[in-house]
């Protein structure tokens, strides 16, 4: 102990001596300046790539401007006109409804399925590691790649799903028009999203389940509690905050989905799957109505912030009760 004290004291003395030797050369380099020097490249990047476009697009949302047609005249300030027009346009509310028709079923199914899979996998058995790895693969693929191969599988004439439904099981003569039927196309999108992101909810749920203390279950068993009782009064209360976090992440992600929808259905048939992100792309990069596209982007941002706040508040309330 005494030897360690002496050694540590010697090291400190050495460091102080080294610092004193360097001090004349780097007198100007204070600790604060050094911190800023290391942070500045990242801050610059953040400023250029995130902060500046955010502020610039916010400005553009209050202007009438087309980046293709008005490059000579520049943006013209029109105040809240873009927001007023968008919020009074029935098309926009239809896009919100379409987005909700995707988000709600997708997140609910992912939650239930993910949690059920986590319950099944929350035990040791042979091959658990391999099975878990395989189940995580969908989540690691690129959304566009997923959408493209699901397009092949969902083809009405030659897709594997209709081959099974039509030719193997004989359930339908023509099969299901997964991507071209107004009533079915949205469910096809939900199916693809659930396939891809259920493993995420499963991971979150598994993390929660493994955090439940074993002694609670043992104590419950001593009192002859049923499986349902243990689940209802032990597992669920402890795991709920983590599930809420998973729901929050998936809701935010699903709300702004673009690549899967664009690659799989393109927003069709008609406008049946034209979610908000696809519509913003249409406004901003096909019609090149930059002002309106920016305004709609901010409306979308405000909605997701509000939604996230509601979920976080529920989460905090739940924590306080616990």
């Amino acid at each position: 102990m005494a030897d360690r004290d002496i050694s540590s004291s010697n090291n400190q003395t050495m460091l102080v001596t080294q610092a004193e030797r360097l001090r004349p050369r780097f007198r100007w380099l204070s600790d604060r300046l050094l911190v800023w020097l290391f942070l500045s490249p990242t801050m610059l990047l953040l400023l250029l790539i995130t902060i500046f476009p955010l502020i610039w697009s916010l400005y553009l949302s209050f202007t009438r401007y087309s980046v293709i047609k008005d490059s000579a005249t520049g943006p013209v300030w029109i105040g809240l006109q873009n927001y007023a027009q968008l919020l009074s346009d029935p098309n926009i509310w239809e896009r919100f409804t379409t987005t909700a028709q995707f988000v709600v079923p997708a997140v609910v199914i992912e939650l239930l399925l993910g949690f059920a899979l986590a319950l099944l996998l929350n035990r040791n058995f042979k091959g658990r590691g391999v099975l878990m790895t395989l189940m995580l693969i969908p989540m690691m693929l690129s959304p566009v790649v997923v959408a493209l191969f699901w397009r092949f599988m969902l083809r009405a004439d030659t897709g594997i799903l209709n081959y099974i439904i039509r030719d193997v099981l004989g359930l339908s003569e023509k099969g299901v028009f997964w991507l071209t039927d107004l009533k079915v196309a949205m469910w096809s999108l939900v199916l693809v999203d659930v396939w891809m992101w259920t493993p995420f909810m499963m991971l979150i749920s598994l993390a929660g389940l493994s955090a439940v203390p074993r002694y609670l279950y043992e104590a419950a068993e001593v009192d002859r509690a049923s499986a349902w009782f243990k689940f209802r009064h032990i597992t669920l209360p402890i795991i709920t905050p983590l599930l809420a976090i998973g729901v929050l992440f998936r809701t935010m992600d699903s709300y702004r989905v673009f690549d899967t929808v664009y690659a799989l259905t393109g927003g069709g048939p008609g406008r049946a799957t034209q979610v908000l992100s696809v519509y913003i792309y249409q406004l901003a990069f096909r019609d090149f109505d930059t002002g309106k596209g920016s305004a709609l982007g901010y409306i979308m941002l405000i909605v997701i912030i509000a939604l996230a706040n509601v979920l976080i508040r529920l989460l905090l309330n739940n924590r306080e009760e616990a």
């Binding site: 490249p41 293709i68 047609k69 009405a156 107004l182 069709g268």
Partner: protein, 471 residues
């Protein structure tokens, strides 16, 4: 300790600056690189005489990905005066990529625009005016007048040109000649309809034949479906269902609008067009199941894998049918004009070459355009599968012998018609695609669909031109 501190600091510094350089370094292609050229207040005009490019000059051309783009890429490698890269982007991104590059004042030197894009490109001063340059550098009199006009003139009939025709195109009917010649199938058709089975020349006859092939058991007619074409109507499909249906409507005697008054309501939703749309819905039923999202590739596949007896598609996709390694039915396919009805009209396709206002090498780009449009190069273009708009090339043995469908092209190109190329065409196209697709696939009432298209398009045009069409 000091050395450890120094090494750590050096490592972290290198890592940070490396990240900064990587993030700031652009892609290898010129896309997105902004030039320093100020936005032109009027369209730049090409000099009548352009300086030849050095062979160290790099030029980029952008087109959408289909067989002619691959052919152009091959042809461009023979250009002696510059290194030319041809970018073939997915059709869904064709317009968006070009105009996003315009917005960034960069992108390709030579842009191949669809006829519909011309208005939007000219109004934004994104392409160079070529009117005077063409008089000095292009044999204008040798070009099909409709091609010169459709692929480069804006406003219509103004005699001001912003593009030169590079690919003429229209649609053809591809059919299984072996099925039409089969005695058993002939007999079956004769028994059902009391007349011989012939390659249809009217849309009504085509429907009859398509319904026959759809309804007849496969062991008799050897094919499960009658007719296929690209019925896709989402924005990502661009103008597929629109061009497929437009030629039906025009053949029936209908119109899309009055180009002199920009009137749509009452014209688009006429009883003639209703008849044409109802017809298209019936024709759709003779195709493969769920063909509502069929695009070019699916139409080609349906013909090549033998699942349809007939299909309508652009001549530009012809090379896909003549290669036996890629098309199982290659030897059994033949080609003819798309049918007419009251009139013989097919949709005008094809594109023109334009020079970007933001090109860093405008003279080199113009020199490349001049070379590409010259007769010898156009002959080579024809041999590679391209469709020239030069009359002398269309009449040449080299063109007519280059592919089995080429002799049909010259006839088809005489009866082509295009639709609006106003800057608002994208909005007009979108509503038309959505509703036509729903009506054709039986998910919307045809009259209601036409009424909705007409009212929406009228609103778009009235908002854009409150004082009437531009003079």
């Amino acid at each position: 300790m000091r050395r450890y501190f120094q090494r750590s600091a050096a490592f972290v510094t290198v890592l940070l600056f490396g990240s900064l350089l990587t993030a700031c370094g652009g892609s290898s292609s010129p896309t997105g690189q902004a030039t320093s050229a100020p936005a032109p207040t009027s369209a730049p005009v090409a000099e009548a005489t352009s300086a030849p490019a050095s062979n160290t000059t790099n030029l980029q051309v952008i087109w959408f990905a289909w067989e002619p783009c691959q052919a152009l890429s091959t042809l461009a490698q023979t250009y002696p005066d510059a290194t030319v890269e041809v970018r073939c982007v997915p059709i869904g991104q064709w317009h968006d990529q070009i105009f996003t590059d315009f917005a960034a004042k960069g992108g390709a030197d030579v842009v191949i625009l669809d006829s519909q894009f011309i208005g939007e490109a000219v109004v934004g001063n994104h392409v160079v005016e070529l009117t005077d340059w063409m008089k000095e550098n292009i044999e204008v009199s040798d070009f099909v007048p409709e091609a010169l006009s459709a692929y480069g003139e804006y406003p219509p009939t103004s005699q001001r040109y912003y593009g030169v025709a590079i690919e003429g195109d229209t649609q053809m009917l591809v059919y299984r000649k072996d099925l039409f010649a089969d005695p058993a199938i002939q007999e079956a058709f004769q028994q059902q309809h009391g007349k011989a089975l012939e390659v249809p020349t009217t849309w009504s006859d085509l429907l009859t034949v398509a319904q026959f092939f759809k309804a007849t058991p496969d062991e008799v007619d050897q094919v499960p479906n009658g007719f296929a074409t690209f019925w896709c109507g989402t924005p990502a499909c661009y103008d597929q269902v629109q061009t497929a249906w437009n030629q039906i409507a025009w053949s029936f005697g209908g119109e899309l609008w009055d180009p002199n008054t920009y009137q749509v309501e009452g014209i688009l939703n006429s009883s003639t067009n209703l008849q044409a749309l109802q017809f298209a819905a019936e024709l759709f039923k003779t195709g493969p199941e769920g063909a509502g999202d069929f695009q070019f590739n699916e139409t080609v596949s349906a013909l090549c894998d033998g699942s349809v007896a007939m299909g309508a598609i652009w001549f530009g996709f012809g090379p896909a049918f003549t290669d036996p390694s890629g098309c199982n039915q290659s030897a059994n396919l033949d080609y003819t004009l798309v049918p007419g009805e009251v009139k013989q009209i097919s949709s005008l396709g094809g594109m023109g070459l334009s020079v970007s206002s933001y090109s860093k090498n405008p003279d080199a780009a113009l020199a490349f355009v001049k070379w590409l449009e010259s007769k010898p190069t156009q002959i080579e273009w024809a041999k590679l599968g391209g469709f020239s708009a030069r009359i002398s090339v269309l009449e040449s043995p080299e063109f007519n012998n280059a592919a089995p469908y080429n002799p049909i092209f010259a006839k088809a190109y005489l009866n082509v018609k295009d639709f609006w190329n106003v800057p608002e065409y994208n909005q007009l196209l979108q509503i038309q695609g959505e509703q036509l697709n729903l009506a054709i696939t039986g998910q919307a009432d045809p009259q209601a669909a036409l009424d909705l298209i007409a009212s929406e398009q009228q609103r778009i045009l009235d908002n854009a031109y409150p004082d009437g069409p531009p003079k």
